[in-house]
Amino acid sequence: MAQGWESLRKDGIHDPRGPAVKDKQEPAEALSKLTPDTAGNMVRWVQALEKGEINPRASIRPGTKIQVYDSDVLLNVQGGMPIVRFPHRQHTEWLDCSNCHDHLFKAQAGANKLSMLAILEGEQCGVCHGAVSFPLTECFRCHSVPRPGQSLNTVPKTLPGGSIPPRSR
């Protein structure tokens, strides 16, 4: 699965005798032009968007309110794995607040009981990660902040000492 993109004819879900396999676009044709990744669609979607390689529409109806929220939240401040940095900006470029708040997460730092097991079972972050967004095998893309020995939940733009913890790899 790790290499490239299977052709529609051989992907196991399209009927190879139907007309669509001729008419539809092959994934390789579109996806090979975007910033590469090592998992999922093999596209680093956040970067493809940021670099302007793609420009997906944010609404199709006039008057829809589009909101982007720029705030990082640190999760799992107590555990043994590196801390999880949840970035709102990258998420809200793609998603609406209502996709997460409040049915998946209360909009209050530290107010949610999150667990890796629930995530692996397709709940919480796992609603999207492991289904459509980059898969759960990419541990350190979420567990991206080595423990700096502080317990703030919302990351200030600059941490004390002037260092910004690294983003995901």
Partner: protein
């Protein structure tokens, strides 16, 4: 609180129950609640193709598609009336619903589900 080695074990246990990797593209969706029973091929919806053109919020907020495979009760009548896929496949934003075979392109016998995701692979929703 769990040491991270336990996490790796958890992952291995999880991977062990994954079926052989499917060749279909990550996040491809098969919709077959009624299609095949009504004599047409199952529908294949591809996230990668659509997310190049639309952000998630268009479908999953503006148009109200629930984020769970099989949770949206989509009928052909809905689509022709401009709901679900028909909000775009209306001859305006995208081609009209008369191109049956473009959507009804799946192999017969496939159940509704998402490829490469927990719906088919993980322990969450057997």
């Amino acid at each position: 609180m769990m040491p991270w080695r336990a996490g790796i074990l958890l992952l291995l246990a999880w991977l062990a129950v994954l079926p052989l990797p499917a060749a279909a593209e990550y996040a491809d969706v098969v919709l077959n609640r009624r299609a095949e029973a009504q004599g047409v091929r199952p529908v294949v919806f591809q996230h990668w193709f659509h997310r190049i053109r639309f952000r998630c919020k268009v479908c999953h907020a503006e148009l109200g598609f629930k984020m769970r495979v099989g949770a949206n009760d989509i009928t052909m009548a809905d689509i022709i009336d401009g709901r679900f896929c028909g909000a775009c496949h209306n001859g305006d934003i995208a081609w009209a619903p008369d191109k049956c075979d473009m959507c009804h392109s799946g192999k017969r016998g496939l159940p509704t589900g998402i490829v490469g995701g927990h719906e088919t692979g993980g322990p969450g929703r057997w």
